[in-house]
């Protein structure tokens, strides 16, 4: 069993972001090297000062908002600060959204990643996609 994990996050839906953050944080504090790639609709939620609420897909997502569930952004922070995780912004999504990597939350690696490097990084790891 590999102790390396790659997490591809492209959804902007609350349940997907929450599940990606839960899996990433627990894996990262359990001895796994975790590389997280934020692309497509997920990236906008990681801008500094962003207060947008991710829309829910269904019943559980609606309940998540009313319960004291840890915020997905804070779980990703725990993955980096308490565990062995690196979070990379997708260079294409940054270009499309027209935001600089320096405008992202401080725990995100300020070095945008392209698909070639992400594929290379993940070639010997378990890959999860959200």
């Amino acid at each position: 069993m590999s102790n390396k994990m790659s997490v591809l996050v492209s959804s902007g839906d609350r349940e997907q972001l929450q599940m990606a953050a839960m899996i990433s944080s627990v894996a990262a504090v359990s001895g796994n090297e975790v590389n997280i790639f934020l692309s497509m609709n997920s990236l906008r939620y990681f801008q500094q000062g962003d207060t947008n609420v991710a829309p829910s897909e269904g019943e559980v997502g609606a309940l998540l908002q009313n319960k004291s569930v840890p915020d997905f952004r804070e779980l990703f922070r725990s993955a980096v600060e308490l565990g062995d995780a690196q979070i990379y912004p997708c260079s294409m999504a940054l270009d499309i959204l027209n935001i600089p990597a320096s405008g992202l939350l401080d725990y995100i690696t300020p070095e945008p990643l392209g698909l070639t490097r992400f594929l290379d990084m993940s070639s010997d790891s378990q890959v999860l996609s959200f």
Binding site: M22, S25, V29, G31, K67, P70, L75, L82
Partner: protein
Amino acid sequence: MSDRIVVDAKNTYCPGPLMELIAGMKQAAVGDELEVLATDKGSANDIPEWIKKVGHQVLDSFDENGVWHVIVRKEK
């Protein structure tokens, strides 16, 4: 041994209590005991699994009036 460190993680959900425990463990010394308080039963199950996996020790785990107490010792 120093006093037991209490990590009050009541009223949050998995994996919040686990993350709060790990943050507490980072500050603790080897041999210290930590007591996590959680109202989320999933965490009461998950925390002992994590403790065993990474090589610490669960000293006790019990439910008291709807609050789970998981007592662990930092081993390394």
